[in-house]
């Protein structure tokens, strides 16, 4: 559309561009906004032009969205009301962050006076996240629903932004808990399984069948939850009692609440009830939606199958280094053992302790599929992901040239050869380069996905900022340290030297920590490990930014000793959070893991920082390994010893190394590898984003 760009409009465009720069992209320009604004008089534009620079200093994204939302109100709403609205949005941002502020923004200026009993998810979300985490099972996240009610996709529980169904706030609080527990139960007790869509397709009206299925499943799952949460079950029962049911429905539900009832039973009940009118929905059941779960489920199943077979392969290889028939087929046997969902495993009749990651996968797979399909039991070849890694490398060669980068620099590092018991001099060539930016918009997505987690993290990090403490046995101070004085006196009487540190001093602890987070970008991280790493980077960087601690983020990947690439995601000097998104989105699975050289360079970078505590956190998914052909190559004992030595060097230079490992299968060599550092093994990649900020908090608090 051609618009007449008067001088005024041109100026407006310039100003908008300046204020909103950080939130713009090729697809998102100010053109549309200017066009819409041109319908309003200069006077009407005033309130917007007043708020924009303020908002853009707070958060460019917020400023952009606020502009969009405010425009329609410029003609109809008086400036004070507009200001009231935007002030409320800013308040919300300060208290609860961007997501909450955006929600408030979308609610608009004329939010009717709320009913007394209304409860906002915002006020509850951190608490509900912890509640759901405590229920156990696969990690689930709580986020606000964009639909008209609650539902789950088996990875996230989407809850309504507010609840006012019951007459009291306390009642609605319990209603939120019940809904969270119920949706958790749907994901936990087998409501969603791969064949569900085709089973529902058999009916003339699959939509209706799906709704019916979900309502029946609701009752079955409630019965499963009841023994675990008897208190909550009583509350749910009080709501169930209010629901009028035909005798046919009563009969069906009494069958479904038997302990052995399964989703199959629910399916078998569909034909009899299809013609019947649906009963009233229970307020804590949410929407009868099964479709959102299917995409997530199918993706997870494929990923888990691949990972499971790969792990089986590795388990087999590590057991029998000698020849093993490739068609090991059914030689792995699994049986479910007593407590909880633990599994026993045997290979060729020999009992084996399944590695923990396998154990978790088994649990997750059985949760999705109800059993262990036979084709899962043929292990993948020992090359496992390696074929993946090579193909990943092929596809990325176009983007990443292996020549020294123009905009980076080259460094040579020694490498430890344990057989020679000496360093190979200047053996590795490391190039430091900016990470090629990615396009995906992962920040908002991640912060929304982990909305509940994130709010909890923010609050806990707030408590970390500066706390007062007494320091004892000081040379100077506010007060005499009586204890120290007594000791000194008795030492003195005994003819010994008297300690001079006799004071105590009240002191505000300044956080003086510099942290470098080094993340694995090797081929083996392809898929959900990479995803979890990116999400963790988002949460980690936002959390540390909030705490105002100094930090840098680097990713690494190698392809022989001459091509060790260290990608700078965020350097210590870079302060802007807004520009991080493309860098984090650029983190992807590439080649191999020559750990040693990267630890050495990261140590150099860290030691250039003035800080009392220097923390090096590495995040990787298993064994150090590189693709090179010199005798033995960078793998096995050689790689382990070099990595270990690099960690030792870091430690000696005063750095605290801490290693987070996602590969649980490798227990045997880990104590040796990480001997000089400390480490944690994560049971489940999906927990990484949840745990990373907490790990950091624990590492740096007293």
């Amino acid at each position: 559309m051609a618009i007449d760009l008067s001088p005024n409009m041109l100026q407006l465009e310039e100003r908008l561009e300046e204020w909103l720069a950080a939130a713009l992209s090729t697809r998102r320009t100010v053109g549309k906004l200017v066009e819409r604004l041109s319908c309003y008089s200069e006077e009407q534009q005033q309130p917007l032009l007043h708020w924009l620079p303020i908002l853009s200093r707070i958060n460019p994204e917020l400023a952009f969205q606020a502009t969009q939302q405010m425009i329609p109100f410029l003609a109809t709403l008086d400036p004070p009301s507009l200001s009231l609205w935007i002030s409320a949005v800013i308040d919300r941002y300060d208290q609860l962050g961007l997501q909450a502020a955006l929600l408030r923004l979308r609610e608009g200026p004329m939010r009717q006076k709320q009913q007394e009993q209304t409860l906002l998810l915002d006020e509850m979300i951190a608490m509900l996240q912890a509640f759901v985490t405590a229920l156990g099972g696969r990690s689930l996240f709580v986020a606000s629903s964009e639909q008209a009610g609650g539902y789950t996709n088996t990875a996230t529980l989407f809850l309504p932004a507010s609840l006012a169904h019951l007459p009291s706030q306390a009642g609605n609080r319990t209603l939120y808990q019940s809904m969270a527990a119920h949706l958790w139960g749907l994901a936990r007790f087998g409501t969603f399984f791969p064949q569900l869509p085709e089973r529902l397709q058999q009916y003339a009206d699959p939509e209706q069948a799906g709704r019916l299925y979900m309502i029946l499943e609701g009752s079955r799952v409630d019965a499963k939850i009841a023994p675990l949460l008897p208190g909550l079950a009583r509350f749910m029962a009080s709501l169930q009692k209010k629901r009028a049911l035909s005798s046919l429905w009563q009969e069906a539900i009494s069958q479904l609440t038997q302990p052995e009832a399964s989703a199959q039973l629910t399916l078998s009940l569909l034909p009899t009830l299809l013609e019947q009118p649906l009963p009233e929905a229970l307020p804590y059941h949410g929407l009868p939606l099964w479709q959102p779960a299917m995409t997530t489920l199918l993706k997870r199943i494929a990923e888990e199958k691949r990972r499971f077979r790969q792990l089986l392969g590795e388990t087999r290889d590590s057991r029998t280094p000698v020849e093993m028939p490739v068609v090991a087929g059914h030689s792995f046997l699994f049986s479910s053992a007593e407590e909880g969902m633990r599994f026993n495993m045997s290979l060729e009749g020999q009992p084996l302790r399944p590695p923990d990651e396998l154990q978790l996968l088994l649990r997750s797979i059985v949760q999705d599929l109800g059993q262990m399909p036979p084709e899962y039991l043929s292990p993948a070849g020992s090359a496992g992901y390696r074929s993946d890694a090579v193909s990943a490398q092929e596809t990325t060669t176009n983007r990443y040239d292996f020549a020294p980068p123009e905009d980076g620099s080259l460094f040579a590092y020694d490498e430890w050869d344990y057989q020679r018991n000496s360093y190979r001099k200047e053996w590795c060539l490391l190039s430091e380069r900016p990470i090629p930016p990615g396009e995906e918009k992962i920040v908002q997505e991640t912060l929304h996905k982990y909305q509940g987690v994130w709010q909890g993290i923010r609050r806990r990090f707030e408590m970390l900022r500066g706390e007062d403490q007494w320091q004892r046995r000081q040379l100077f101070g506010d007060e005499i340290d009586m204890d120290a004085l007594l000791h000194a006196w008795s030492d003195f009487q005994a003819g010994q030297e008297m300690d001079e540190r006799l004071f105590r001093h009240r002191h505000r602890r300044q956080r003086n920590v510099a942290t470098l987070l080094l993340v694995d970008m090797s081929g083996s991280t392809k898929g959900w490990v990479n995803q979890a790493i990116r999400e963790s980077l988002v949460l980690f960087s936002h959390a540390l930014h909030h705490l105002q601690d100094r930090f840098a983020l680097y990713g690494f990947s190698s392809m022989t000793r001459k091509q060790c690439h260290l990608y700078c995601i965020k350097s210590f000097t870079q302060q802007q959070l807004a520009t991080l998104e493309p860098a984090i989105a650029g983190v992807q699975a590439m080649d191999y893991t020559r750990m040693g050289v990267f630890i050495r360079h990261a140590s150099t970078l860290l030691n250039q920082q003035e800080a009392k505590t220097r923390l090096l956190i590495t995040l990787s998914d298993g064994k150090p390994e590189d693709y090179d052909s010199f005798l033995g190559g960078y793998r096995g004992q050689y790689a382990i010893e070099d990595t270990r030595t690099a960690l030792l060097e870091a430690r000696r230079s005063g750095i605290h190394p801490f290693c987070i490992t996602i590969d649980r299968e490798a227990r045997a060599y880990l104590p040796r590898l990480y001997g000089p550092a400390r480490y944690v093994l994560l049971e489940d990649v999906r927990q990484l984003p949840l745990r990373i900020a907490d790990i950091y908090r624990k590492l740096t608090s007293r």
Partner: protein, 276 residues
């Protein structure tokens, strides 16, 4: 009390402490004791480590001296010091020296809380020399066979400022503890607090949910100890809800969101105060 016989008489454990063996820890402890090997107990707080040591001290017939380590503890607090009494300086043995002199079990609880320059004194005691140098007296004590050194520590990723040095930990026979298995824990709660088995089961069920929060905001979930505490409050007539709030929820954290979540869990398992 005839203090002439042994100054440690009052540290002797007379009655058999109630302890439910979780695995083979009693046998391992006895074997280590017989071989004069020092022992490291690893495990979360309140899972029964102290109770276990008491039980073993009773079984082996040795007095037990327990020291809770803290940041300001000095070597003198362990080994001993000169005191000024009526203008004269008198040497007073610390608990470690007492235990070595009289062949007792010395239990250093939460060893990582002590500073590293303090804990080095146990090194010569914890290897096969079994010696305790007392610098201020200019003497060295050799530990008798009945002496045993036991230390405890809670792993889990702690602050980088607190960790157990390799050179310390590699001297010890390590026994790993965790909360007792579900069935056993219910029995323990029932016996220790006197609540019904049903109530003990509900408490354990609640505790297990809080344990899923470990590392997700909570440093530890509710320990066996906290359940015993809650049970005892219930036995004295407090409602389960009151008892859990006071003995468990607020003992676990100060974080408002987590308190709300744990309260919700508690109500979800045990019901609300007004009985629904």
């Amino acid at each position: 009390m005839s203090s002439d016989l042994s100054p440690l008489e009052s540290y002797r454990i007379i009655n058999e402490p109630y302890y439910e063996a979780v695995a083979n820890e009693c046998e391992l402890f006895s074997a280590a004791f017989a071989n004069r090997l020092p022992i490291l107990l690893k495990g979360p707080t309140g899972c029964g480590k102290t109770r276990f040591v008491e039980r073993m001290a009773w079984q082996l017939g040795r007095p037990l001296l327990t020291v809770s380590c803290h940041e300001d503890m000095t070597t003198s607090d362990l080994v001993g010091r000169f005191l000024v009494i009526g203008g004269e300086t008198v040497w007073r043995d610390g608990p470690l020296t007492m235990a070595v002199r009289h062949g007792a079990i010395c239990y250093l609880d939460e060893i990582v809380e002590a500073r590293k320059d303090t804990t080095v004194v146990i090194h010569p005691l914890a290897d096969d020399r079994r010696l305790l140098p007392i610098e201020k007296l200019g003497t060295v004590l050799r530990a008798p066979p009945e002496f045993a050194l036991v230390i405890s520590y809670n792993p889990g990723y702690q602050s980088v400022l607190k960790e157990l040095k390799q050179s310390t930990r590699q001297r010890f026979v390590a026994l790993e503890f965790d909360y007792p298995k579900t069935g056993l824990e219910k029995t323990i709660i029932q016996k220790e607090s006197g609540v019904s088995f049903g109530m003990a089961s509900a408490l354990v069920q609640f505790a297990q949910l809080t344990r899923n929060l470990k590392g997700n905001g909570l440093e530890e979930g509710a320990s066996t100890r906290l359940l015993v505490h809650a049970g005892r409050l219930i036995q004295s007539g407090r409602t389960p809800s009151e008892a859990c709030t006071a003995a468990i929820t607020h003992a676990l954290t100060d974080d408002a969101d987590l308190i709300a979540a744990i309260t919700a869990l508690q109500e979800s398992v045990l019901g609300t105060a007004d009985g629904d």
